[in-house]
Symmetry: C3
Subunit: 267 residues, 3 copies
């Protein structure tokens, strides 16, 4: 049987302008030249753990089995924050223990969680500001050589989990926060298709202050193409959450909304 | 004979900040782990079909034979717009049928064109907003496994072609549109070297209103280095079109010009 | 023995929006399909040789032996500037001869330097503005096939070297320039850990005019996490230089400083 190259997928807030990503990749290739590296993104907003968590969540399940994900959005680097290695049924995840793997842990409640501690698998000199290069990368590279997860540290019981507000439905109003704003300015709302897909008659979309009607719409559309240029549209997005967008424009800019803001929907 | 890995090259307007590119790559690698993915760019201006078409046109011919290009700039996603698969003598191209392959079709008039319709090669659940992940990627991945193009759909006779204004020469004035503005702010004009290279004495460069002389120059220079910093220069660019640039500055910004604007050149 | 794929690593100021990087990669893969291409960055500030030199310097030593680096920040393209190929004990470097390899040459004083001149290894048509595609890429691709460096040209004695101001210590004040500003806005100062690590009591950080105290601090901290959000912090950075940053904000923006500006530190 021909062996398939293991994949290490990277998600960081390092940006693409400096040497951070490159030295990370160099470390990986020096330890395991046979690994294939795929970038998820390096443009997570600096220090935004919630953005990083959401992007990773939307990308990971499309990757081949055994993919190793390194996620580094790490404002606490150099502090006493822990570092974790998670093994789910299909994948491995390596990250600081700061909530970045919240969605992964929630979707994979039976996953094994290790606190990364064994310095044998770190670079020999560990800086206090760049654990992506000095710890996460070598750990991932050794893991890609089929090292057992127990080698890297001890079991961890209580990883850090982000507090994400659930959608609430009262009378005929759903209240839910914006989880993410994508590059087109579409608002991704914490309303999941599999829980709310029966709520088909979306009547009005309002912001929290309840003063402004963002849009009236019955029923949900299926994509931008169903409305005119510049018109507001709500639809089940490709990540299975409700999205509110504007055909060929940014809903986030137009309504001046940001991640965490709460939206009210009359249904 | 050792087998060379097939290449899938990606051009999109997805940006590099979200999970769009990563899930696309994950889908490809899940279907064909042996394929090599090369990014052309993911930073085409949102929904700008003409920019996407021009960038693809300038990149493709440098790739190895059999490369499969996926191009996704797709404002009509979810509408009834078709999707096409093109086979030229050397390459394959997959894209929405919206003009994105205009230059490819013009340069390869004998290419075979298929309307992508066979759902057998799509992801099992197709979203209405993300055909890059759900349709174009799996089709490309199966194609990279040497599936015949006829498997994916029926022949298409009339693909959508962008209307690009040709250069006109009247008396001693050439009129032609700006096709593209690169990251240095250089203006790439629809004046091809192989048709106009005899027009060596470029006397004046004017904007459409004919009021402003952008530059006087005799003859054409060969590069920025031929003029002082801050000086305007016209030269045959690396993509074989006439370019107007400013040494170490942006011509687009200085002259406030955009793609589609028409330039007049006294020769 | 299984053969490991050679790596070609790319650093340019091409940006990621156009076709420049892609055609470069296409050329490499067409000549040597077996090579693996790794991006360092393509976002060096346009024409900034000093930024390019510093980023390359911080990335290169983490790569596997025999990696071939192509560095292209080339405002003099098309002029009579030379092009160089450098062989150090572990690596190869290909670049215009404009100072981009300054740190590499200083760290590897015994390296061999070749002036790239043999047109046999260029593309058949060489544009005057895009030597990245037409010269540097094919030369790197042939080099990755184990061609000897002597094939590409003659020895060069005096490559161009950037003039970088050394740190000076007078009485209890160290004066040194900012070498680089990273994406977090951290100031990387030309004060090396191995020369100045005994200077532990950093008392005041001032700008050149000596009028403004940027920060008071005793002793050096080890990372952002040691100070409150918004507070200034000086620490030995991951590249072994002194860095001045602000926890969760940009020091460069706050103090309005740029590369080349000189900083004074009371110790």
């Amino acid at each position: 049987m021909r062996k398939v190259k293991p994949i290490i997928a990277l998600l960081t807030d390092f940006g693409e302008d400096d040497w951070f990503v490159a030295s990370t990749k160099g470390v990986i290739k020096s330890i395991n030249p046979d690994v294939e590296i795929v970038d998820i993104t390096h443009n997570i907003k600096s220090h935004s753990i919630s953005d990083g968590a959401f992007v990773l969540y939307n990308a990971y399940s499309y990757f081949p089995e055994k993919t190793i994900f390194i996620a580094v959005v790490d404002p606490g680097v150099g502090s006493s924050r822990k570092m974790i290695l998670i093994k789910t049924k299909k994948y491995f995840f390596i990250a600081p223990d700061n909530g970045l793997l919240t969605y992964i842990i929630k979707e994979n409640p039976k996953c094994e969680i290790i606190s990364i501690e064994n310095k044998k698998y770190f670079l020999s000199e560990v800086s206090s500001t760049f654990h992506g290069r000095d710890i996460f990368s070598p750990v991932a590279a050794y893991l890609s050589k089929d090292y057992k997860i127990e080698k890297f540290g001890k079991k961890l019981r209580k990883p850090v989990i982000l507090d994400i507000q659930d959608a609430k439905i009262e009378k005929n109003v759903i209240t839910a926060p914006i989880l993410y704003i994508d590059k087109f300015g579409n608002l991704i709302i914490n309303i999941k298709k599999n829980e709310f897909s029966n709520v088909l008659k979306l009547k009005e979309i309002k912001n929290k202050s309840d003063k402004e009607i963002l849009a009236c719409q019955t029923p949900l559309k299926s994509s931008y193409a169903d409305v005119e240029e510049g018109e507001v549209v709500a639809y089940w997005g490709s990540s299975e959450f409700l999205e509110i967008g504007i055909n060929q424009a940014s809903a986030a800019k137009k309504f001046n909304l940001k991640v965490g803001d709460v939206i009210k929907l009359k249904v």
